[in-house]
Subunit: 233 residues, 2 copies
Amino acid sequence: MSVFYPYVSIDCVIFGFDGEKLKILLIERTINNAEIGLSDKKLPGSIIFEDENLDNAAIRILNDLTGLKNIYLSQFRSFGDPERANKPRDKQWLERTTQLKIGRLVTVAYVALIKINRKIIFQSENTTARWYDLTSLSEMQLAFDHNQIATEALKFIRNKIQYESHTLFELLPNKFTMTQLRNLYDTILETKSDVRNFQKKMLQVEGLEKLDEVQKNVPYRAPRLYRYNKKKK
Amino acid sequence: MSVFYPYVSIDCVIFGFDGEKLKILLIERTINNAEIGLSDKKLPGSIIFEDENLDNAAIRILNDLTGLKNIYLSQFRSFGDPERANKPRDKQWLERTTQLKIGRLVTVAYVALIKINRKIIFQSENTTARWYDLTSLSEMQLAFDHNQIATEALKFIRNKIQYESHTLFELLPNKFTMTQLRNLYDTILETKSDVRNFQKKMLQVEGLEKLDEVQKNVPYRAPRLYRYNKKKK
DNA sequence: CCAAAAGTGTTATCGATACACCCATGT
DNA sequence: ACATGGGTGTATCGATAACACTTTTGG
């Protein structure tokens, strides 16, 4: 029943879309352990600093990792099971990288949505970040409770796009086709929308503009481009 | 840029409904300070203990305060501004009650919905808990950032009941009338629903049962009672 | 018999769904 | 000419919204 102080971290579940599949950005973590192997994966994250608030910590992590600013970020839940950072490989890694003796770690989790076509400069030399298919998540053993966090993040975003469809545009290039939009929607929700009905629905989303422009260099009829204009009201 | 350890607390925004108004359960906090007066109010909360997870901490706080178990609880957001526990009266109070030197406090906020008719035994002798009209929230100066937390909680629950109407039943007695249900709904959303349309809508909520029973001791035509049966599918 | 609240049905509108054929382009 | 994906309209169904009068009960 004793009171104590845990460390507080931020973890970011970063989703992207390559036109076909939903992707998640993970960091390669090196561990030296004969039983487990040499490496595994984790969500990007960090202990919060003394003078930053939660949102800013998430922004920092994203910027450090990708060099990007102004990306969609939303806090969705915190995780604080006493055992969540207690696996030997996690403890070992934490101590090595933070130089701290961490008894317990409460994490505030964020979802980030990024346009995968923005060429990302992975800045830190000593971290390897890579996109992974979200579908292969269940086969990967992520660090800590990061499998659970990623799963919850997906649920969160699934729920969100149904009521706030404009969230989808965060994952697409500035100009996109209706087919790309539909593929994205159907990929996230695991549905198969009717082409015509989907178009009707999306055209009533405020700010979605039909452009007088088509996609170039396609080996078939060039599809029309659309753009989302947040401002317009 | 230094790493450090904040304390982690849980705060609960507890809503109730008295048949007319939405209520929030607040705790009287005594402070001895000539400028501020002798007391103000705060959300029920506590530092988390070493061996409990976040949900269990919230359950503990609720049980300690009200003696109730099995009540609706949902984590909705965490608050961690570096300044959020820095007002003199908050610092002073924290030190006195926790006997700790708290530099920073990150809080994980929960919404609880309780049936106000369950007579609550406020257990701790040295805390005074009372229901307040939610509408008077803006005139009260709560401790820490609790005004903001309560406001966010209300938004959360407003959003929730529109897509998951059964959440409403958490705030009503086991048996209730359609008018009570409608009053509750309209109070939360600040709407005025049409009596007939509302009834039609609610009757298609899975698990809502029309009983062959009416309310007793009413000075006018006795209204029919309804019950929500979660299990039935 | 009056006051107060309960109970009840129809119509119009809107949004969601189901469904199939022709068009433009590159090879 | 053909293969590939793009683009388009109508009919039906279900949900929502608007709307007013009669019934029950206690005092």
